[in-house]
């Protein structure tokens, strides 16, 4: 199943946020969206996930979702969006409760998702008792439970410390390794983008337009080796040079707003 951003334009009142953004996320492909602060990355993701009606253009799906998928487009949120009154298990089970599954089937799915994200010992724990990294793991387990075709990840690591970020990044790489699940990964962190993405969509400052689409020259597996580090750093610097000027201007804009 492909996800297509088709000439998406969006305005919040008089404020133009996105301007004619088009690109396609192929099946199993990971596309990172980067750009200066306020360029409309998260707005674009909301439009792609059906949480926001664009002023013009469309978010479209092409092809059938995988037959076992309960929610083909599934978000992983920056702030985790966990129900504080539910345990880990209940949070993961929430999207399954109205999917017409038997309680046995739900149990099996929750067990699998919780096990895959290293939460097996925390089933009965409440979110407030968990660290930021573990909370995001619950968010990921909840997303995996519905077997998405495409994960929509809105800066999923930005609220975490650098060590936890590193660990979760490795988890993401593992989860996306078999190519059965694609992702749109919104981030301001270029290191995350070059480590995870197959393609990187660079947006201009507000109103966000597609400034460049960079295709990564190596597979994710190749990027984990030491010898790849220099290449990735060069790529990161290239991306930064694309964004830097716009980021400076965007920051000045925000300060003067």
């Amino acid at each position: 199943m492909d996800l297509i951003a088709d000439h998406i334009t969006h305005r919040f009142g008089a404020l133009a946020v996105l301007d004619d953004v088009s690109f396609t996320v192929g099946a199993g492909e990971v596309v990172a969206i980067v750009g200066p602060s306020g360029c409309g990355k998260s707005t674009l993701l909301s439009v792609l996930g059906g949480l926001l009606q664009p002023s013009a253009g469309f978010a479209q799906l092409r092809g059938a979702p995988p037959p076992e998928s309960l929610n083909p487009l599934t978000f992983v949120f920056q702030d985790f969006a966990l129900l504080p009154w539910c345990t880990v298990e209940e949070n993961v089970e929430l999207p399954l409760l109205h999917a017409g599954l038997t309680s046995g089937a739900r149990r099996a799915i929750v067990e699998d998702a919780v096990g895959r994200t290293g939460l097996a010992d925390f089933r009965g724990t409440y979110p407030k008792q968990l660290s930021g990294g573990m909370r995001q793991r619950v968010g990921i387990a909840r997303a995996l439970a519905v077997r998405p075709a495409i994960l929509l990840m809105d800066e999923p690591l930005s609220a975490l410390d650098s060590q936890t970020r590193q660990l979760l990044m490795e988890d993401f790489i593992g989860l996306l390794a078999d190519g059965t699940m694609g992702a749109v990964y919104v981030t301001h962190n270029l290191e995350e983008a070059v480590r995870l993405a197959d393609r990187i969509v660079v947006l201009s400052r507000r109103p966000g337009r597609v400034r460049e689409v960079v295709t990564m020259p190596m597979t994710r597996a190749e990027r984990s080796g030491i010898e790849a580090r220099e290449k990735l750093l060069t790529l990161q610097n290239d991306l930064w040079s694309l964004i830097r000027e716009e980021a400076i201007n965007a920051e000045r804009e925000v300060q003067h707003a």
């Binding site: 996930g49 059906g50 949480l51 929610n71 487009l73 599934t74 978000f75 949120f77 702030d79 969006a81 129900l83 504080p84 009154w85 539910c86 929430l94 999207p95 409760l97 109205h98 409440y126 407030k128 909840r142 519905v146």
Partner: protein
């Protein structure tokens, strides 16, 4: 391999003259209630009150001693009058509070979830909420007769507005990201209300219950003072008219104990329902 060279600045100075403790500036602004302080203060106040009465410093007609007040409560309990008055008051509070709360929760949720209900409801609530509900009792007597109905309706009205406000404020304060999360998983509307909005609004709703319990108590006493033969309010008024101040204070103490019991019940509910906080 990391170079772990010794940092000469890391070792503490040895000369005593160089040492000066950093002054602690972080005290205060963190009040904590002592476990027994409140009870000790209360017992002290009662002791002083009793001593002042026993020593003849205070005229017992104006301020009966705590012992005399307790004796009056005991005699009221023995005679059965206490239960008669209390049962009337509890019946009025219970019925009025339940009616007002059910209506308030329904209207509050409607205002919190529907644009149409919000537009209409907030205007009415803003206009009617500030009216002291006891002022409506004569009108309610005209409409509903002189039985229990106008007293119960007065309490229900007082409870309704505060409940509706606390419910829609609670709904408004449910983090939108949680609602969007549920929508992103295609959770149906009724399930979002039940599993996200209701528990999210519950802290505000329970805080509202605490306020409406006090309002109900206030209104039942006022309504009973205006037009009732039985009830704690009527009893307190009768005792005052007959200068039976020990009985009057007995009624006040019973009201206070009733309020405390309701407060404890709400505390228990909060502990049970908001354990996740």
């Amino acid at each position: 391999m990391l170079d772990r060279a010794n940092d000469p600045t890391a070792s503490p100075p040895t000369e005593k003259a160089q040492l000066r403790p950093v002054a602690f500036r972080g005290a205060g602004f963190a009040p904590k209630a002592g476990r027994y302080a409140g009870w000790i203060a209360l017992l002290l106040a009662i002791g002083v009150w009793q001593l002042a009465g026993t020593a003849g410093l205070v005229n017992p007609l104006f301020l009966p001693t705590p012992v005399a007040t307790m004796r009056a409560i005991y005699q009221l309990a023995l005679s059965g009058a206490l239960w008669q008055h209390l049962s009337y008051s509890i019946m009025r509070i219970g019925t009025g509070w339940i009616l007002g709360t059910v209506a308030g929760v329904v209207v509050g949720f409607a205002i919190g979830l529907s644009s149409l209900a919000r537009g209409v409801g907030i205007t009415f609530i803003s206009a009617l909420f500030p009216i002291p509900k006891i002022a409506l009792l004569p009108l309610l007597i005209l409409w509903l007769g002189i039985g229990e109905e106008p007293k119960i309706a007065t309490i229900a009205l007082g409870v309704f507005f505060s409940t509706a406000i606390s419910v829609y404020s609670g709904v408004d304060n449910v983090p939108r990201n949680l609602i969007r999360m549920a929508q992103s998983f295609n959770v149906p509307f009724h399930a979002i209300v039940r599993r996200v909005i209701w528990p999210g609004a519950l802290p505000s709703i329970l805080a509202g219950f605490r306020i409406t319990a006090s309002i109900a108590l206030l209104l039942v006493v006022s309504a009973e003072m205006i037009g009732a033969e039985y009830g704690i309010g009527a009893f307190v008024l009768q005792a005052g008219n007959l200068m039976q101040t020990d009985q009057l204070l007995a009624g006040v103490v019973i009201l206070s104990l009733f309020g405390l019991a309701v407060g404890r019940l709400i505390n228990w509910l909060e502990t049970r329902l908001l354990h996740w906080r």
